[in-house]
């Protein structure tokens, strides 16, 4: 899988220099009675300065665990992480702090990630002092951070406590707090999913603006593949701890190759499809039968993890886990049955290779 993955070029690579590499990263959790949960299995991807890579998947797919591994909050079971070309080795508290000043994490829930007993000012001053020592111009730096996340006038907000802020304002504070360390890599774990629809877009636009201005390498974790289409350069689709498909955001969402990505795309609300399959209920012509999503609570232990839910699964899928095979230079999918799942993407088949020139 690693070999194939390295032959793929990330669609995000055109944006800027390489910032961070995850190389065959795995994470197992012991869940008692000798059982092991493979939360992340042999995952490789790169983050580039000024580019957004989206990690898309359902709850339990391992996307947050992957981000926590990058953030240094979990130990790798195997694999390696490189930052600016150097392997990351965190052996002391000092190492960890130096690492954290480059790699910052934004949490999903702005309601629980801020300390209710501290003001906004405290939330921003603390990381500044931790990562850059005491300096005379902390106040100016705090004001600059507030400016960056557009919480102005700064003086009005600095004295407030989290409960006095709206959800959007709180999330702006978490962005500012992450930026206080002056990181090169920002790991954003569902940064907008707790916010109202009308505010989400503003937040994503703000993140996009910060990415451009500060040339941040960003990992955007989401279950909303539609927002990844707009926000990310490259999309990685995770299922049961594995990357099952990756490629340029527009290509993955418009012509999904892997059956799971196809299911994900087909399940997203489609306002342009009034009177859709949904309104016709179970009698509608849904591409996948309803039993597909209802059955397994656990991914397959052998073979392709998606095989128990996959309408195209055959014996080989249940026995052998497919590697992530390249489709084009920037695109890959882990599926034995790509010729059936996405014939138009396979060069050499009738009508195949249509996206290779995109």
């Amino acid at each position: 899988m690693t070999e194939q993955a390295t032959t793929l070029t990330s669609a995000a690579a055109v944006r800027g220099p390489l910032a961070m590499e995850a190389i065959s990263v795995s994470k197992d959790f012991k869940i008692g009675r000798g059982q092991t949960l493979h939360a992340v299995r042999d995952v490789s991807f790169n983050l580039y300065r000024g580019a957004v890579v989206a990690l898309v998947g359902e709850s339990g797919s391992g996307k947050s665990t992957a981000a926590r591994l990058l953030a240094g909050q979990e130990r790798l079971t195997s694999g390696a992480i490189k930052l600016d070309g150097k392997p990351v080795e965190v052996t002391s508290r000092g190492d960890f702090r130096r690492y954290k000043s480059q790699v910052q994490y934004v949490f999903q829930d702005p309601f629980s990630s801020l300390n209710p007993v501290h003001t906004v000012q405290y939330h921003l001053e603390r990381p500044l002092k931790l990562h850059h020592g005491k300096s005379a111009n902390t106040d100016t730096e705090v004001a600059a951070l507030m400016e960056q996340v557009r919480l102005t006038p700064a003086n009005h907000f600095l004295v407030k406590y989290p409960h006095e802020l709206s959800g959007g304002q709180r999330q702006r504070v978490s962005f500012a707090r992450a930026l206080a360390a002056r990181p090169t890599v920002l790991l954003a774990d569902e940064p907008v999913s707790m916010l109202d629809v009308s505010i989400r877009l503003e937040m994503l636009n703000l993140l996009d603006d910060l990415r451009k201005r500060l040339s941040l390498a960003m990992l955007y974790i989401t279950h909303d593949i539609a927002s990844a289409r707009y926000f990310a350069d490259e999309i990685l689709v995770m299922y049961a701890g594995e990357i099952v498909e990756r490629g340029p955001a527009e290509e993955v969402t418009q012509q999904p190759a892997h059956p799971y990505t196809q299911l994900l795309v087909a399940s997203s609300p489609d306002p342009d499809n009034l009177g859709s399959a949904l309104r016709r209920g179970a009698n509608g012509t849904r591409r996948q039968g309803p039993q597909l999503t209802r059955t397994p609570e656990r991914a397959a232990t052998a073979g392709c993890p998606f095989s128990p839910r996959c309408p195209l699964a055959e014996d080989r899928c249940r026995e052998e886990d497919p590697p992530l095979l390249p489709i084009t230079a920037t695109r890959g999918a882990a599926c034995w049955r790509l010729d059936v799942a996405a014939p138009e993407l396979i060069p050499g088949l009738p009508g195949g290779g249509s996206t290779t020139n995109n």
Partner: protein
């Protein structure tokens, strides 16, 4: 439900518009929250009806009053919430006479609840009792609201699980042993336990993955067709409602801003807020559009601004908006007289003024 001679239920004749058709009719409902800092006008003179077999989507952001409206209408609110005006007429098939829910005695209310109007709550993990298994929770509901023998109740509990596609072997499972989707299905089964006429669904799928969400929604629609209940569906996700609902009511700052069929709302959104909402979610299909979202945040309802509550965020706003009555009037260009909007100035085709995101002030007046 037996009519009470002492407290005459509001007769149906008092209704202005074809209330005979509606199974639930909310009229002029206002709810405030009493706080030391003054009353918060959470719901302000709202009119909304639900026809038999209809799916009405109620859409709004957090704090818009959508849940307060529906909980107020089903008398589930308690202090500091206070219903200050309105009637809620329920006229289901099983009741002999339409009655006002807001003026029912406790025993009448007891017969109405669950038997006639059931609710699926948002957070299945919190709404289910963690120390009771699925069967006991279903039996609890059945015995509280239906007088049927124990055996029959058990059979009913099992068949309810069949209904929502959960294997009967799960009857003895506890909530923590179920996946999020299964828990939400149990919630739906519980709501349907007494064969209600109206099912209120408060963000039933918000915490779920898209794949599971779609599956559950398809099942809700299927059950609705089969059992013939009506649905009031509350969500902040307008894109979901466009696919699911027959009619959509858009709520903002305690007031309804626009009501129309899903296709009217989708193709000919009239109110600037609805237009903004439609331009707030990234679409997966079709060309990539430039998305604008809605800058700003909702007003403080302790001291609502005069006129239209959306004015501070509105790209079309003028000073005339400060004096507008928030009445829902038919959209002038629409063929459908039931497509109504609270904005008398903006029509579906009205172009956004030159400076998007800023209010256009007539010359000579200071900008707000």
């Amino acid at each position: 439900m037996t009519a009470d001679p002492g407290r005459a239920p509001v007769p149906v004749a008092a209704s202005p518009v074809a209330a005979q058709d509606a199974v639930l009719e909310i009229r002029d409902l206002s709810v405030v929250y009493r706080t030391p800092g003054g009353d918060v006008r959470a719901v302000d003179k709202v009119n909304l009806s639900l026809a038999p077999g209809e799916v009405v989507g109620l859409c709004g952001e957090s704090g818009s009053g959508k849940s307060t409206l529906v909980y107020g209408a089903s008398r589930l609110l308690r202090a500091p919430a206070l219903i200050t005006s309105g009637t809620v007429i329920y006229s289901g098939r099983r009741v002999t006479k339409p009655a006002d829910v807001l003026r029912m005695r406790p025993d009448e209310l007891q017969r109405l609840r669950w038997r006639e109007i059931a609710i699926v709550f948002q957070s299945a993990m919190n709404a289910l009792n963690p120390v009771l298994n699925v069967r006991d929770q279903l039996l609890d509901v059945i015995h509280a609201h239906l007088r049927i023998p124990r055996d029959e109740a058990r059979e009913r509990a099992a068949s309810l699980l069949d209904l929502v596609g959960i294997p009967r072997s799960r009857l003895r499972s506890y909530p923590h042993e179920l996946s999020g989707g299964m828990r939400q299905r149990v919630m739906i089964a519980m709501a349907l336990a007494t064969d209600p006429e109206v099912v209120i669904m408060d963000e039933p799928t918000t915490a779920l993955d898209v794949v599971v969400q779609r599956d559950i929604l398809a099942q809700i629609v299927e059950l609705k067709e089969r059992l013939g209940f009506s649905i009031m569906f509350i969500t902040h996700d307008l894109s979901l409602l466009l696919e699911l609902a027959d009619r959509i009511a858009v709520m903002y700052a305690g007031q309804l801003l626009e009501i129309g069929t899903a296709s009217e709302i989708h193709r000919e959104p009239s109110h600037p807020y609805t237009k903004g909402l439609l331009n707030s979610f990234p679409s997966l299909r079709g060309p990539r559009r430039d998305l604008t979202g809605i800058p700003g945040s909702p007003p403080d309802l302790r001291d609502p601004p005069p006129g239209c509550p959306f004015l501070p965020r509105c790209a079309y706003g003028t000073s005339a908006c400060e004096e507008v009555d928030m009445h829902l009037l038919p959209v002038a260009t629409s063929k459908d007289p039931d497509h109504v909007t609270a904005c008398p100035f903006v029509l579906p085709g009205t172009p956004v003024p030159d400076r998007p995101g800023t209010r256009q002030e007539p010359a000579g007046e200071p900008a707000a």
